[in-house]
């Protein structure tokens, strides 16, 4: 298991440390938008509320090496999506070159991108308005 640098660990929820593999955070697809999630820690909730006006997007890009089956597993693991939803994102990556995997506060977006890169997927974040 990887560790998270201190400055970043402080900005993450306890169950959301990037790079972990067995107990990834579950942001279930049926949940409301991330900033409304009832299980969000108080500190993070306050921080993320500052980002409400400008949500961030987590992008996953196509690459010729990562296996489609693996991309689906990683999306399910990191975002807690259903098999169907994860496959939909994977196919969008495959066909259109990228997908918006998640939208919400900056800190969680950073954590998700960190996790995706730990799984060697091409991922980045940017402001939703871009």
């Amino acid at each position: 298991m990887s560790s998270v640098p201190e400055p970043w660990r402080d900005r993450l929820r306890p169950a959301q440390q990037p790079g972990t593999t067995g107990s990834a955070p579950k942001n279930h697809p049926e949940e409301p938008e991330p900033w409304e999630s009832p299980d969000t820690g108080t500190t993070t909730l306050l921080n993320e509320s500052e980002d409400l006006d400008q949500p961030w997007q987590v992008l996953i890009f196509n690459d010729p090496v990562n296996l489609m089956s693996y991309v689906t597993v990683v999306i399910r693991r990191i975002f807690g999506y259903s098999e169907t939803k994860a496959r939909k994102h994977m196919m969008q990556i495959h066909r259109e070159g990228k997908t918006i995997a998640w939208t919400g506060g900056r800190e969680r977006a950073e954590a998700y991108v960190h996790q995706l890169q730990s799984h060697q997927l091409l991922a980045s974040l940017h402001k939703a308005s871009e």
Binding site: S2, S3, V4, P5, P7, W8, P18, G19, T21, G22, W56, L59, N62, D63, P64, V65, N66, L67, S69, Y70, V73, V74, R76, R77, A86, H94, E110, V113, H114, Q117, S118, H119, Q120, L122, A123, S124, L125, H126, K127, E130
Partner: protein
């Protein structure tokens, strides 16, 4: 080579031929990004795109995230090397034991190797070519001699990866 899933969650590579063992032994060196900034950049990509990819954001990402990724990926290769060294040999076949903890490390190490080889040697992009173009490109690479071993290794690694995804990785 015959992968066998173990009850504890790991797996055993049985009946590994000398040539397959030799190819697997090259995983760490195949994953080496030395001399290829492009390959290193693929393993350690920027965290931001668009207008948010500012020098400050990129510098923060390199400072706080990239060392973590580097440690993770180096650790994966080290564990794979240990498993390979611990392989047992009987007559002309090797047996390699991979624990459940190391199954995903093996996957990432194989992936690292494929990502680096693909970037370094400019392998054809399966998605961008038609079936005929792809086969022609593969044939040309195999006949060129220079990159043929890398291409064969990449294919072997991909097959093993598919098996690990199907049998060992949990979401």
């Amino acid at each position: 080579m015959h992968p066998v899933l173990q009850e504890a969650g790991g797996f055993t590579l049985e009946n590994v031929s000398p040539s397959e063992y030799a190819a697997l032994s090259h995983i760490p060196s195949d994953a080496d990004t030395t001399g290829s900034p492009e390959a290193k950049a693929r393993l350690l990509p920027p965290g931001f795109t668009g207008e948010t990819a500012t020098p400050e954001n990129n510098a923060d990402w390199e400072e706080f995230v990239h060392p973590d990724l580097e440690d993770l990926f180096k650790g994966d290769l080290a564990h794979v090397a240990q498993d390979l060294q611990a392989a047992t040999q009987e007559e002309d076949e090797y047996t390699i034991e991979i624990s459940s903890e190391n199954a995903e490390r093996w996957f990432r190490a194989l992936n690292q190797a494929r990502l680096v080889m693909h970037t370094k040697h400019d392998f054809p992009d399966d998605d961008a070519l038609s079936e005929e173009e792809h086969m022609a490109s593969i044939t040309a690479l195999l006949q060129s001699g220079e990159f043929a071993p890398y291409l064969r290794s990449s294919r072997l690694y991909a097959v093993l990866q598919e098996w690990i995804v199907a049998n060992c990785l949990k979401y």
